[in-house]
């Protein structure tokens, strides 16, 4: 049985075709990255997988069930999301931010056990000192770290990350990458977008090159991230790759 299937996805916005016939089969526990130039449709594809956006054609199948037919709470137990930048529109403590990871499990009111789960993870991940701090005022690195920790609290099987390292300094980049490595060991599935090759090589087993909403190449990291493929992807002859 296939775990997660992205089946013949088409998506347009304002008559512009953004995703054109994307097909992917993702195994349980696999770490896959989507890589491509700006505007190639990476974020749109992630949002379709998360069912935030509904494609005009095609379907996302998880364990033989159409993701768009999942109840919201059931879906949130399967998928969690770490966006490029998490912004809270109102002041909230870091603890209150984290406890939102329990929303799929809560009927109306937060229980004692939910609080305990959050506190345990905070302690385990050494962020207990941030508990009462205003989440809005944390550094970008702390925010991303806390958001990643929320995926544990949400207990989801699949973690979808959209350029989580963009605004971070080296310290937090390393921290997040280490944590992602740990997540991999927990046999969770990771679907990510990074804008640097080092992170992909560090975290992913497989990479998909996306160009103008279509898959250019799909395969193991070392086979796909070659100079020839990247030159074709970016239409630029001077692609420079660190070895």
């Amino acid at each position: 049985m296939n775990y997660l299937v992205v089946n013949k996805i088409f998506f347009s916005y304002d008559k512009k075709k953004i995703i054109k016939n994307i097909n992917l089969v993702i195994d349980k526990g696999e770490s896959i990255s989507i890589f491509g130039p700006n505007g190639s449709g990476k974020t749109t594809l992630l949002k379709i997988i998360l069912s935030i956006l509904k494609p005009q054609k095609g379907e996302i199948i998880l364990e033989e069930k159409n993701v768009f037919k999942f109840k919201e709470r059931e879906r949130a137990k399967k998928f969690s999301y770490v966006p490029q930048k998490v912004s809270s529109f109102f002041p909230m403590s870091t603890f209150d931010f984290l406890i939102l990871g329990r929303v799929p499990y809560i009927n109306g009111f937060i229980r004692k056990e939910d609080r305990e789960i959050v506190l345990n993870w905070m302690e385990k991940m050494k962020v207990l000192h941030l508990k009462d701090q205003n989440f809005q005022l944390l550094s970008e690195g702390e925010k991303q770290l806390v958001t990643l920790i929320r995926t544990f609290i949400q207990e989801s099987e699949i973690i979808v990350l959209d350029e989580p390292l963009t605004h971070l300094d080296l310290k937090y980049k390393s921290k997040i990458l280490e944590l992602l490595k740990e997540i991999k060991k927990m046999s969770k599935t990771i679907i990510s977008v990074f804008h640097d090759l080092e992170s992909i090589k560090y975290i992913s087993d497989r990479v998909v090159l996306l160009k103008n909403g279509e898959i250019l190449k799909d395969g193991e990291v070392n086979d796909v991230l070659t100079k020839e493929n990247l030159t074709q992807l970016f239409e630029e002859n001077h692609i420079f790759i660190y070895k």
Partner: protein, 325 residues
């Protein structure tokens, strides 16, 4: 500790202002007389029972309704500047009431004005949503702009209708400015019938509202049915605003001030923010009404003038405090 002290002060002040509001007026009563009256209201003074008690109760309830409507609007529209007044929801209610007076529909059934008031508030909220959706997703800024534009448009049409039909002018000016001075227990019962279910519903969706504070995509990925949540919240805002406008005319800024003050102290949790909005909103409007009765005694200043006087500087403060919207 700070939070507990705040709640305690809020409760003590509410009781105190409630008693003072009852005692103050053309005929004054001692606090002792007021307490005696409250122990056994049926044997009390007609003035206290039929005029002052309904007035004070309704100002508390309207303040609570508007504050909760403000809180829900801010969360729904992800905008700390959202307020039923600024977003044109109150003007929608006012417009429908004026229109029904103009067309002579105000006497179709007993509470027909309240029904039109609700319809008008709903009309406005839906219009804002539609306007903001013309270009795809709703951003906080285009919603605020849509609301302000709608507010002006509906207010000007209401004024036009009032001037055109002179009879309407008398009725609507009387209706919108008298505020709490024409209140009776029938209106309070109606207010309670709307307010209590709205309060319970808001509390039931507290955790979804919390998640919604991070934006629609985040709420979705946390397991919130965002479409259903938005619809329910829209109805709650329309009901709470509609009934408030029906009871007391347009009162601005309470819905803006109260949730913003509370959020800075209590943060995110709607399970705390909702009951606290009830309390602080009720208290603020009771105080505003009391001030309105005191300043030019024996003349009365409409409560909306007092809240605008307090709220407009607060609005500017919010604008300058958080520069980007």
């Amino acid at each position: 500790m700070k939070k507990r002290a705040f709640v305690l002060i809020l409760i003590i002040l509410s009781v105190l202002i409630f008693l003072i509001s009852l005692s103050y007026g053309s005929k004054r009563y001692s606090i002792l007389e007021i307490i005696e009256f409250l122990m056994n209201p049926k044997n009390g003074d007609e003035l206290l029972l039929k005029i002052r008690l309904p007035r004070v109760l309704s100002s508390f309830l309207v303040g609570a309704s508007l504050s909760i409507a403000g809180l829900l609007s801010q969360t729904l529209f992800l905008n700390p500047l959202a307020d039923p007044f600024l977003f044109g929801i109150s003007s929608g209610a006012n417009f429908f009431v004026t229109l029904s007076l103009f067309l002579g529909l105000d006497m179709i059934f007993k509470f027909s004005l309240s029904f039109f008031s609700f319809l008008g508030a709903l009309f406005s909220t839906i219009i804002i949503l539609l306007i903001s959706r013309i270009k795809g997703k709703i951003t906080p800024l285009n919603l605020l702009l849509a609301g302000v534009a709608l507010n002006y448009l509906l207010s000007s049409i209401s004024s036009f209708l009032s001037i055109w039909g002179r009879d309407v002018l008398n009725k609507s000016v009387f209706w919108s400015l008298t505020g709490f001075s024409t209140i009776n227990f029938e209106k309070i019962n109606l207010l309670l019938i709307i307010f209590i279910p709205c309060l319970i519903f808001s509390i039931l969706i507290n955790i979804q509202l919390d998640a919604f504070s991070l934006g629609e995509d985040e709420a979705h990925s946390l397991g919130v049915n965002t479409k259903l949540m938005k619809t329910v919240t829209l109805f709650l805002i329309a009901l709470l605003t509609g009934i408030s406008v029906y009871v007391s005319g347009i009162i601005g800024f309470i819905g803006l001030m109260v949730p913003n003050i509370l959020r800075t102290i209590f943060g995110l949790k709607h399970i705390e923010l909702i009951p606290l909005s009830l309390l602080l909103g009720g208290l603020l409007l009771m105080i505003s009404d009391l001030i309105g009765r005191m300043i030019l005694f024996p003349a009365e200043i409409p409560v909306s003038i007092i809240t605008s006087f307090l709220g407009a500087p607060f609005f500017l403060y919010l604008l300058f405090k958080k520069r980007v919207y």
